[in-house]
Amino acid sequence: MSDGQRSPTTGSGQIVVSGLTKQYKNVRAVNDLSFTVEPGRVTGFLGPNGAGKTTTLRMLLNLVTPTAGSATIGGRRYADLTDPLRHVGAVLEASSAHKGRTGINHLRVIAAAAGLPKTRADEVLAMVGLTPAAKRKFKGYSLGMKQRLGIAAAMLGDPRVLVLDEPANGLDPEGIRWMRGFLKALATEGRTVLVSSHLLSEMQLLADDVVIIAAGQLIRQGPVDQVIGSMAQTTRVRVRTPQATELAKALREQSAVVEVDPHGALLVAGVDAATVGRAALAVQAELHELTTERPDLEGVFLELTAGKAGIR
């Protein structure tokens, strides 16, 4: 089959979600949601708990039937893909394997269903560093090992599109760093990587683009820097000094905006750290701290989703 020679960079791995809606009995979990996910980049899919992230991903993968709208991968619905595992790999729940089955057998069952060679199971297990636990039963796996097994399963068909739902859940710092490197490398190879999460600091390190939803609706989509930059939040300089009053006066004279935080530190906007340092020297203020505070994804996210919290 020519599929075997296919490099992950050929063919479009673009995900297009268009007018997607899911109405449950009492809740409209996803409401007319549209966004696109580009190949070669890691896209963070963000939203408060209950925003509809999981439902959206499950509609994309034909596990949940949409009430309206459509979701396509490379122009085709998931259900219409021939050999779907060769196109799309998905990691949905950490615990989706039979507890009495060994890790390697879990992968062999999937490989058999997808018509992939048995040896592929050993390869992906080695890829995620689980080879030593290959013959251990799933119930003996730690949460981190379960996540790795899920990723191994997703990589079985060497797909050009990766969809992951909260993959960092339950991982230790070492595991999170491993995952970050792994997903970034996949995107660099030209694959599409869509990752849902509510760990915003992690997303800021990992994602190139973000799609932010709340209450089932799109709030913002775009490159991380652009989304952060679009918000009112600006870079501020945080400075602590025993001579706070004098310094604040001097800075205001240079048309800086100065606020005092509850701990007595000054938060200075409108000038950079060097200007603050020079001003401090001029008024002979003794500096205990001088830091530049950049607006982060977390602040932007909280501002964007304020009042649209999860419980509906």
Binding site: T55, P84, A90, E93, H98, G100, R108, A113
Partner: protein
């Protein structure tokens, strides 16, 4: 074909089938001893001690029928165990949340259920093969030692073997159907076991009372609407006034398998997996 291989691998890589197989073997051993005693008692003329009505006792005094019964020993519990395997083949997917993985590798859900049905019939076949070989060897020995003759040349005995196979395949399929209707694992296992073991007795009692009340033995034949009665009627070659013809049982059982299989496929196609 890949899907059927995957389904069989799912079964081989977990322990449930082993317990069901042990249960089925134990059932064969116990049933064989009981049936051998029954055959010996009826065929040597001590039928009175079974306390049966005279025409029933006469019907039982049939060497071919007793041979068929002996060669299909362990069917009652064997069928329960293969049905439970069928139930587990579906409910495991929901209990362990592997349905997600399964439907990701095969979004065409009808194919998934069909492959489960095929894999289930193959498992039914293996259970039939093993229990039949045991019954064949032990039964032929018993029949010849007691000078009843093996009766293996009789069509009715051969038919009992063949329809026992059909019963094993159909009951595993029934199990799949039950599993798709009741996806809660404990609920499905308990329901199917209770309906099979106790439901049959209760319904038989009901039919018995109905028959005495109406003073009609013909009513008893309607017991065949129960799947477990249908399958024992199907393999039974003894012409008893209490039981309808074998092909009625076969039709009823095929009907159940087709109906539960179809409903199972329709439900699974529409279900949201979350």
């Amino acid at each position: 074909m890949n899907l059927v291989r995957s389904e069989l691998l799912k079964i081989r890589t977990t322990a449930a089938w082993l317990w069901m197989a042990l249960g089925a073997l134990l059932a064969v051993a116990l049933a064989f001893v009981t049936n051998a005693w029954l055959a010996h008692t009826t065929l040597t003329g001590d039928a009175d001690m079974l306390g049966l009505p005279p025409e029933e006792a006469a019907a039982q005094q049939d060497v071919v029928g007793q041979a068929a019964n002996l060669y299909t020993s362990g069917q009652y519990f064997g069928l329960l165990f293969v049905m439970l395997i069928g139930v587990l083949m579906v409910t495991n997917e929901f209990f362990h949340q592997t349905a997600t993985t399964t439907f990701l590798s095969t979004p065409k859900r009808t194919s998934v259920i069909f492959s489960k049905l095929v894999a289930a019939s193959l498992i039914g076949f293996v259970f039939w093969l093993v229990t039949s070989v045991i019954n064949l060897v032990a039964g032929a020995l018993f029949m010849s030692i007691n000078d009843f003759g093996t009766q293996l040349g009789e069509w009715e005995v051969q038919r009992a073997f063949l329809f026992n196979l059909l019963a094993y395949a159909l009951w595993t399929i029934l199990g799949i159907g039950v599993g798709t209707l009741i996806t809660n694992q404990i609920g499905a296992v308990v329901t199917s076991a209770v309906v099979y073991l106790i439901g049959t007795q209760v319904a038989s009692l009901f039919f018995f009372l109905l028959s005495s009340w109406l003073d009609s033995e013909a009513v008893l034949k309607w017991q065949v609407v129960l799947p477990s009665v249908a399958s024992s009627v199907m393999v039974n070659s003894i012409e008893s006034p209490m039981l309808p013809a074998w092909w009625v049982g076969a039709l009823v059982l095929v009907g159940y398998a087709v109906v539960t299989g179809t409903i199972g496929i329709l439900i699974t196609r529409r279900r949201d997996i979350s």
